[in-house]
Symmetry: C2
Subunit: 160 residues, 2 copies
């Protein structure tokens, strides 16, 4: 395996591991269990799951892998704090969107070569990218993997 490939494969492995962890944690929970707060007065599990789905959905255009699949998740899970949005997707709808979004990301990742990961992402201009080459797709992959870990650390508190 070439050196560039070792770097990108290492990061993709960790993404996959974290998605698997999140699948195991969230997918088996009942709507009652998903309504549990991670700590008193803090976000419910269902909110974290919807939030992660919305953030992952936004990775599709950001990484040039296609249009978003569920922009309707932004209002309840990104713009609004938990319990504030008038309409929130059900556990079943979140589960379906979660699988759909992560499946499309996985398929998109498989089309990217190591050097594709070093290309700019969609939220940085050509001009800025010329000055800041670390604002690439790889940085998005790493930061979203971390974001997932951050919320997994919280979600686990409500499931043990």
């Amino acid at each position: 395996m070439a050196n560039e490939q070792l770097f990108s494969s290492g990061a993709l492995n960790l993404w996959d591991t974290n998605i698997d962890r999140a699948d195991k944690l969230f997918s088996g929970l009942t709507p009652d269990q998903l309504a549990k707060e991670i700590a008193p007065g803090k976000n419910r599990l269902i909110y974290l799951w919807g939030h992660l789905t919305a953030v992952h959905d936004r990775m599709l255009p950001l990484l040039g892998l296609g249009p978003r699949l569920h922009p309707e998740f932004d209002d309840p899970f990104l713009s609004s704090p938990d319990k504030a949005a008038p309409h929130t997707p059900s556990a079943e709808e979140i589960k379906e969107a979660w699988n759909e979004v992560n499946g499309k990301l996985r398929a998109g990742f498989a089309t990217l070569s190591p050097s594709d990961w070093l290309q700019k992402h969609a939220s940085v201009s050509e001009e800025d990218f010329a000055k800041e080459p670390l604002r690439n797709r790889f940085a998005i992959l790493l930061s979203r993997t971390n974001h997932l870990s951050y919320h997994l650390g919280q979600a686990i508190l409500a499931t043990k």
Copy 2:
């Protein structure tokens, strides 16, 4: 910047960002604040801080950057659950060890070239590494950055 360097620098940036976040979160807390649990019956902040220090300390020999600085942190913060160990370092002692360990890691990281990150870490045999080249130093950097995020997600719950 060469491609290999872009990969390793991207991951090192994220490590630095997370260390800064943890510094800001933990270093300004009083011993009383550090005694707060992240959720009822769960780990205290001081335990998470000591735990992160112990895990980072173990990265030194694992990455070939020198011997451990604080093996005495293993018993209270790795082998034992919170509140179980007979002796636990004070907040002041944890802060000092945290800064010392992360400073030594930072200095060590600065000596590694991108291809050094792709060399095996100390817990894998030459034989296994030949078959599984992703068990390299870079994988340790990524997984420990994620581990830090995981616990930061928890720690933030007790500080807001």
